[in-house]
Symmetry: C2
Subunit: 273 residues, 2 copies
């Protein structure tokens, strides 16, 4: 029996993960487990793990690393209780040689004792904080996907991981831009403050009406386009690296953690430490 949206919204992070693990929720995770950090997920073989971790350290705005598994251990012990990264996401994308090869709801058959899983903070956290402050977001009000753009801003490469920074754009009333900057700065584990506000051309975006990913969204009269570093950045770096195998969350289908989104450090000390 499927649970309705209202029931889902009442559930704890642990309850939601159990539901997802049982195959009873395959949908997106936006709006669920209010107040808890959700995360992008990247899973790859250990031989690439050190370089990928360096890529995250060098590019903390687009790649805010919040957790990493032991090699071969599917449990994300520092992000919550009983999180099995093989089963606890609603959907996964499988990449082979840098290209999307499949989309599945369980990766137990692909996991092995050389795999390492990474969790990276996502924009759900700061979007909730913006809305709570009365800052409207066009894409959520209209049920579309936020517009995302390839920029001329470089990332700092690490091993095979490199590429442009990708940003998401939200049009903010001019009078609220300073608030939006201050609010999102409080969430360094969720992309933090914007990387740019104002003229799109200044960061290499030639046409604000034609995003590279997501749906177009208007910049209204009296609004400023504000750009945040985006979790598609590591996705592009992963495609460039052409790893034989790499697994990610399916966009919008995030890992729900037990970490409060305003935690100063996104680490739960496991009981057996």
């Amino acid at each position: 029996m499927a649970d309705g949206p209202a029931q889902l919204a009442q559930m704890s992070a642990a309850q939601l993960r159990r539901l997802i693990r049982a195959g009873a929720h395959r949908g997106q995770t936006s709006g669920l487990a209010d107040g808890f950090l959700q995360a992008n997920v990247v899973i790859l073989p250990e031989e690439f793990a050190l370089d990928f971790m360096r890529f995250c350290q060098r590019n903390p705005r687009p790649c805010p690393l919040v957790g990493v598994s032991d090699t071969g251990d599917p449990m994300m012990r520092t992000l919550g209780e009983d999180i099995d990264i093989r089963t606890d996401l609603p959907a996964y994308n499988i990449y082979r040689d840098g290209r999307l090869a499949d989309s599945v709801t369980d990766i137990r058959a692909l996991w092995n004792d050389r795999m390492v899983a990474f969790a990276l903070g996502c924009s759900f956290t700061f979007e909730r904080a913006l809305r709570a402050a009365g800052i409207a977001l066009w894409h959520t009000d209209h049920g579309t996907t936020v517009p995302m753009f390839r920029t001329a801003l470089p990332t700092v490469p690490a091993g095979p991981f490199r590429g442009p920074m990708v940003v998401s754009m939200r049009a903010i009333d001019a009078a609220r831009v300073d608030d939006a900057i201050a609010i999102t700065r409080r969430f360094p584990h969720a992309h933090g403050a914007p990387v740019h506000a104002g003229d799109p051309a200044a960061i290499g975006i030639s046409d604000i009406t034609r995003p590279d990913w997501g749906d177009p969204a208007p910049v209204g009269a009296g609004q400023i386009p504000v750009f945040w570093a985006c979790g598609v950045t590591p996705q592009v770096a992963l495609e460039a690296a052409r790893l034989p195998l790499c697994i990610t969350h399916r966009p919008g289908h995030m890992l729900i953690t037990d970490i409060p989104e305003d935690a100063e450090t996104p680490v739960r000390v496991p009981p057996d430490s």
Copy 2:
């Protein structure tokens, strides 16, 4: 010709590193390059690098990772211009099998193409901010080393790296404790907010007058002992891991970076990115 303290204090980070590289400054770095991040350094073979990086990610208060080299590349490209980790610290400690074996001023003979260098933020940054706010620090006023204590607080282990959290103690006037917490929270790359304020026994310290490292410092009438996570924590974890070879900075002899200490992300984008 040796430069005096007044001359040193006027120099830029780059000038100081050149002086150190030339062998003309072998002393401590406290008080130098005002406003720029200084860092603890750990250098170890690549086979241990992923686990050490996980240890830092899982224990960000004692181990605030601010930079990591490519394997075999001695240049710390994201921390400044022309930083050669083999020559640009005033002094290094060499550990073999977890025990201090030597102290040297240059590690070119020990570096090889499998080495990885890590830089971790240090307390100089937040101490300067506390003093700037008029909060007196007994150990700096008296020219002693801050008292440090092994605690009952666990770290989250990663591979061979494990052990207790080590903290430094500063006695703060009760009326300024909230200020001290707020000020140091602004520097997550330099240990951030305290891990405890008040009763030492609550974190497993039985005798506040007998530190495990450093010099004793009094807790005066009307003062509260305040405890910050300390860079000796990774040192203890490294000793526990008993690596065949590990190189660190000599205590007090830090890496001086080009990163402003209030930078939101401690990353300089190298010009060739």
